[in-house]
């Protein structure tokens, strides 16, 4: 097949199609509702669900994602054929012929691939859809595209598979939503509990949208596309966490999730902008080529250089002032500038000259073939910014506060989004952007992961809500992955990502089954002794618990051992970061402890609440079958040959194919140390885990040590852990309260000053208009009226002249005659002369 990469594109768009179909259906139903009395309107209305939702939408969504899984499986097989498994060092780097426009003509150039691909055109395509021309600098473009390597295929498989299973699970779990009216016991209205229509279809609508955006994120080959999908998964998370939005707690949790994510996204955007401004591109491949010295070029100049695949730092040559379009830099280890290399190697002469002499002629606006530069601290900030986005998405400290509250959403949502996939997106992105991070940024990543994993594990010890325990467990395991990536264990971190997805989904679905069976009871203190009643659930959850604890031969053992080995190797290389090994080691024990505690409290011992125990039942087949499948996978997904060898996992070697060469080279000694101390790390961890398991069974199974006594003996610690290290309260005091205060001030300002001004203006205008009215009525009208009155009065007076009396007329006649006489005698000459 020509471009099997399109299989993945098709697989990505299938859930989108399902989303649009469901949306159309829902829209038609809403449009037909007012006219449901008419024959046509009524048939449409009832066909699309009528008063109670129908299952058709769920089948469409499940079918779509299932088909996507099948396509990704085919793609995986084809990819494996194209990329036979062999050590990466022996793979000849592929030089792809690329046509690009340089000046007035089209030039064929050689582009280097740091990540080897058999035939890139089969597995990666990029389409430019927007271009921003900034004058002298070359145009920067936004593009959409996909770039498939082994990591993508594995992630795709994992996401689509787990999503399919969860779709199937949800058909059974969300059965309550199929009724025409659902009574929500947690929402109180004026007359009892809230009654609303069931929202079965909406659930699958959102799930489809989420699947599309998650798959798009995995597929993306540039940061902008990742960002689009990033935001979209954030929105889906908001929609799904707030599924029961009438509950105050649910809507608050949804907003908290979204807002916390947005805080991280601010950093993400900063990183994006820095990269776009300074490096000029957002494409992963192009970014890595520019920032790090490329492996090979035509002249094979850089192969021998010790700087290959490293970030080349340089300092301004003393005595040389920067000219108008560039500056001269001297390559030096602690320099404050970073050399940006050309994408295309046609002018590898420049690179050779730079490496030979050590002097780099860096331009401010490099054209093709020219070298550029950017300040080092800016690159650090970019890396930290992108990491901040991942902190928000993957619920690391300090932005972890949303994940426990996000358990307000239905359990399948927690399983899919907040365990297996969305939170994994942050880790995935850190892995993808690995060559971008400077050593300082990587250290920050490692410590963040370390703090998070320890903190979350300690909080999980005292939680009583079954889903909350699992939520904190997720946060802790994500911390593990971040730590692994920070210390250079690229493979280990992503390996753990995949295995974690399976067993965490299993644990969540299992808890969902328990909750369903106990009629939506989530408090573990009310459960107990449920093993006889829910055997399948109990056994699968036991499998999941063993996996997460790291018992050998379960998949979690392979990945956790890899992480611990890597951490030990790092500590051997840099002994002052000993904490980066001790924390995960200790937490491995704590993890085992609280997971076993969870299992014991739920399934073992005597039932603590008779009512719950009586009505408990096993879940239907649609729910137990996914559990069994997931249990099988969580055991076997990391198996390799020989089974007992932790490093021989097939999955491990598949991911290893995609490891960036920069990671391989920079952490070469660390990898060697890790390989050497793999067994030591593993045995230490195993020892701690067994101690923790025994400890947990002593407390919760045999009741040798009473947890209540412990609570009374260490009230301070218990309170500290129960209140989640008071992080929420801290945020409330630092951020929420001041924000609310400012909001109050603003509101007061708005009501008093602005509204006051507006009201005063209004009143002033009214007053003015009243005066104007008075003026108009009084003076203007008065003048007019006065004129009229005067005229009338004068006329009235003059009227009296017309007396009607004959005699007065005669008098006037006489007077007139006198007048004429007088006038004549005045003017007529001869009378005067006489």
């Amino acid at each position: 097949m020509e471009s099997p990469g399109l299989l993945y594109v098709a697989a990505t768009f299938l859930p989108l199609a399902s989303f649009l179909l469901l949306l159309l259906g829902g829209g038609l139903r809403a449009a037909a509702k007012p006219v449901r009395d008419t024959p046509l309107g009524g048939s449409i209305f009832r066909g699309l669900g009528g008063d109670a939702p129908i299952k058709t939408g769920a089948y469409i969504a499940t079918g779509a994602i299932g088909l996507a899984f099948v396509l990704s499986l085919i793609g995986f097989i084809l990819f494996k054929q194209d990329h036979p498994h062999e050590a990466v060092e022996h793979t000849a780097p592929h030089q792809e012929a690329v046509e690009h426009a340089a000046g007035a003509d089209v030039v064929q150039d050689w582009r280097l691939s740091p990540l080897s691909l058999a035939d890139p055109s089969r597995w990666s395509v990029s389409v430019d859809w927007a271009s921003l021309n900034m004058g002298s600098r070359p145009a920067t473009t936004l593009s959409l595209g996909y770039h498939i390597d082994s990591l993508t295929t594995v992630m795709f498989l994992m996401v689509s598979f787990i999503a399919t299973l969860i779709h199937v699970f949800s058909i059974g779990y969300m059965g309550d939503e199929l009724q025409p009216t659902v009574e929500d016991h947690q929402v109180h209205t004026v007359d009892g509990h809230l009654r609303r229509r069931g929202r079965f279809g909406r659930f699958f609508l959102f799930l489809s949208l989420f699947c599309f955006s998650m798959l798009n994120l995995i597929l993306a080959d540039n940061l902008f596309q990742v960002f689009l999908s990033w935001e979209l998964v954030g929105i889906c998370s908001y929609l799904l966490v707030g599924f029961y939005y009438e509950r105050r707690s649910a809507s608050n949790a949804a907003i908290k999730a979204f807002v916390t994510n947005r805080v991280g996204d601010a950093g993400f955007i900063i990183g994006l902008l820095i990269l776009w401004t300074y490096v000029g591109t957002l494409n992963f491949e192009d970014l890595f080529r520019k920032i790090r010295l490329p492996e090979n070029d035509i002249a094979n100049v850089a192969t021998a250089s010790s700087l290959r695949h490293r970030i080349v730092r340089a300092a301004v040559v003393p005595g040389e002032a920067p000219s108008r379009d560039g500056q001269k830099l001297q390559i030096s280890a602690g320099g404050d500038q970073v050399v940006l290399f050309p994408e295309y190697s046609r002018h590898s002469e420049e690179v050779r000259k730079a490496l030979d002499t050590g002097i780099v002629d860096a331009k401010f606006a490099p054209r093709t073939g020219q070298l550029g530069s950017m300040p080092y601290w800016v690159l650090v900030v970019a890396g930290l910014g992108i990491f901040l986005g991942c902190v928000g998405k993957s619920a690391q400290f300090p932005l972890h506060v949303w994940l426990p509250d996000a358990m307000e959403g239905p359990t399948p949502v927690s399983a899919l989004i907040h365990a297996a996939t969305m939170v994994a997106a942050g880790v995935y992105l850190v892995g993808r952007c690995f060559p971008l991070f400077t050593p300082e940024a990587r250290l920050v990543i490692a410590y963040t992961g370390g703090i998070t994993l320890f903190m979350a594990a300690t909080i999980a010890i005292v939680q009583t809500d079954i889903k909350k325990v699992l939520a904190y467990s997720t946060v802790s395991q994500l911390g593990y992955m971040m730590l692994a990536l920070g210390v250079g264990g690229w493979i280990a971190g992503l390996f753990h990502l995949i295995t974690h997805a399976f067993f965490k989904a299993l644990l969540f679905l299992g808890s969902g089954s328990v909750i369903y069976g106990c009629h939506h009871e989530q408090d573990m203190t009310k459960m107990g002794g449920l093993y006889p009643k829910m055997k399948v659930t109990a056994i699968t959850m036991l499998v999941g618990m063993l996996t997460i604890a790291g018992i050998p031969l379960f998949s979690g053992w392979y990945s956790k051992d890899a992480i611990l080995a890597q951490a030990l190797g790092f500590v051997q290389e840099y002994p002052k970061h000993i904490l980066l090994f001790l924390l995960p080691l200790l937490t491995a024990g704590i993890t085992a402890f609280y997971m076993f505690r969870l299992w014991l409290l739920t399934f073992a011992g005597k039932p603590r609440d008779e009512h719950v125990y009586e009505h408990a039942h096993e879940s239907p087949r649609t729910m137990t079958v996914p559990l069994i499948i997931l249990a099988v996978f969580s055991v076997a997904v990391a198996w390799g040959w020989p089974l007992y060898d932790a490093e021989a996992s097939v999955l491990n070697s598949t991911i290893e194919q995609s490891e960036p060469l920069s990671a391989k080279i920079e952490f070469a000694t660390v990898h060697a140390f890790a390989h050497g101390s793999h067994a030591l790390a593993g045995n230490l961890a195993l020892g701690l885990v067994l101690v923790a398991l025994i400890f947990a069974s002593l407390i919760y199974h045999s009741r040798v040590l009473d947890p209540e006594e412990a609570k009374q003996q260490f009230p301070g610690i218990h309170r500290f852990l129960w209140n989640k290290w008071y992080v929420d309260e801290l945020y409330s005091a630092i951020i929420v309260r001041p924000a609310l205060t400012v909001a109050h001030w603003c509101r007061k300002f708005d009501t008093r000053v602005i509204d006051g001004t507006v009201d005063a203006t209004a009143r002033g205008v009214v007053q003015l208009s009243r005066w104007d009215g008075r003026f108009d009525l009084g003076i203007i009208d008065g003048l007019v009226n006065l004129t009229a009155r005067v005229v009338f009065a004068v006329g009235g007076r003059l009227r009296t002249v017309q007396t009607g009396y004959l005699r007065s007329y005669i008098l006037f006649l006489v007077l007139a005659a006198i007048g004429i006489f007088a006038v004549l005698s005045y003017f007529v000459a001869f009378v005067r002369a006489g």
């Binding site: 005699r807 008098l811 006489v814 007077l815 006198i818 006489f821 005698s825 009378v831 006489g834």
Partner: protein, 202 residues
Amino acid sequence: MDVQTALFWILAGLTGLSAIAVVVTQNIVRSAAWLLFTLGGVAGIYFLLGADFVGATQLIVYVGGILVLVVFGVMLTAQGPFVTMKTSAAEWAISLVVGLLLFSVITLAAVNAPWPQDAHHSEDMESAETSQNSVKLGAAFLGIKEITPKKDLTGFPMGKTPPERKQVAYLLPFEIVSVHLLVVLIGAAYLARAKRRRGMPT
């Protein structure tokens, strides 16, 4: 004083006093009586001025015709004996003032105007034969010239001489006037025809 002067004063005094009496009297019948005397006095003045035909006509037409008519009118429109129409004192005063004003104006004009004098007149006034007033009138109607020779004229203002006069025949205007009179009388007869009275006066 010669006879003419005395006669003038007597007649003028009679006329003037009667005229004033006409104005002053409240009773309408007495006013008519005083009018009679006024008209008679005026006729006398005419005779004194040598216009005997005019004087005779005055007596016949005015006194014998118009005054009788007036008296008829007075009788026909007689009100009850206790109904007198008095004018108020204010109106008296105003009318008096206006009258005096008019009189003074006319008098001033009459006195100050340089009327051309004629020394010829006294001879014609000796007797009725020499005045020949009617003959002159008749001749004038027919358009026969008879004018005073120029050399006897004196007193023209500012050295002006009288213009050459063409004798105009006054018979046509006379006829027109008489026809006019006829028409007027017919009209008056029509106007004054008997109509139904609108009821008794309150």
